[in-house]
Symmetry: C2
Subunit: 179 residues, 2 copies
DNA sequence: CGAGCGCTTGATTGAGTTCAAAAATCGTGG
DNA sequence: CCACGATTTTTGAACTCAATCAAGCGCTCG
């Protein structure tokens, strides 16, 4: 499996940025044509609702890519914040440059593969959210992203799962008791 | 906005099929390299969980495309059923043929756009499922797909929203009362 | 060493589920 | 085109899972 980094030959039009834990890399709706490849560290993308509550859309550790495609394709509706959960090294590129840069067919095909994979992941997530209880979603999360629970605070895992930190704590308590 | 039909010049390697309402076009996990372009009518894709309960992943009316990318990219996990909610005319193509057919760069770029749009839609759906109440999700559904409520039974809208038909009925009752 | 943040635990509340049954609508065969 | 059976929607009561509210504990880091 090839990374976006190799596919695009990112180094040609790229800025590498080091950012400390807590740094907000992108505010909702600003600079939405930028993409972020995580070379080192851990990022997250999330929205903030009217009540001020955060909802985590995705995590991205080493080798992952975060792009707020939503804002780029449609100008209305959900826009994402992106920030660092650990000190990180991020390769920043501008989608406009990529599009203007006359990619080869092979590069385009591989981008298609990456997009398809993302769609597949989102499909699984939607179906989990539709059909599974909080506990089932938590177990699925542990199986899908075994390294993240050690690196991500529990309240953020809860946010990713769509439940409160208290509920997740209770679930974990029950699971620990039963095993 | 260009349809997949024009983009791929589908007529070259395509079967057109007419199917009556209720016909299952694809069973979970079978023939997952096929894609379905809806020329006329209305399709849906859905999973069935261990308890036999259906969860609708998406609807596709005229001009839309259904492909179970999940199963094609990964062989494990969620697989979708696809069936007709109305008598339909469906253009069936095989992704393998598409991939083998030496697409032009322009076609590839446009496929990229379509995939990005799908990702954007899924992103919105995930965030709605994470953050919104059943009522809010229903209102968003009405706004996003104004033609569907007339064509889709309510229990299926409920399934798409991730709630029971009874809950949807109650929500509708309250909304009708208040306006 | 203290202040603040994050996790846990418990009590209460509420949105949505489940179970059940009646009312409305649909669709099919005659 | 109508009538009847089957499916869908509505309504209501009891229940459940998770949210909210609130308090206490344990860490970490300044």
């Amino acid at each position: 499996m090839e990374s976006i980094r190799e596919i695009l030959n990112l180094d040609t039009f790229v800025v590498v940025k080091k950012a400390k834990r807590g740094t907000i890399i992108q505010r909702a709706g600003v600079n939405t044509s930028l993409g972020y490849y995580v070379r080192k560290g851990l990022l997250r993308s999330y929205t903030i609702d009217e009540k001020g509550k955060e909802h985590i859309f995705m995590f991205a550790s080493e080798g992952w890519l975060i792009v707020d495609i939503e804002s780029q394709e449609f100008h209305h509706s959900t826009e994402l914040y992106i920030d660092c959960l650990e000190d990180s090294e991020v390769v920043i590129f501008d989608r406009k440059d990529i599009n203007a840069s006359n990619l080869t067919k092979i590069q385009l095909e591989r981008i298609n593969d990456l997009l398809s994979r993302r769609i597949a992941a989102l499909q699984r997530r939607v179906i989990l959210l539709l059909s599974a209880t909080a506990k089932e979603r938590y177990i699925a999360f542990l199986e899908t992203y075994p390294d993240l629970p050690n690196r991500v605070p529990q309240r953020m895992i809860a946010s990713y799962l769509g439940i409160t930190p208290q509920a997740l704590s209770t679930i974990r308590g029950k699971m620990a008791g039963k095993n």
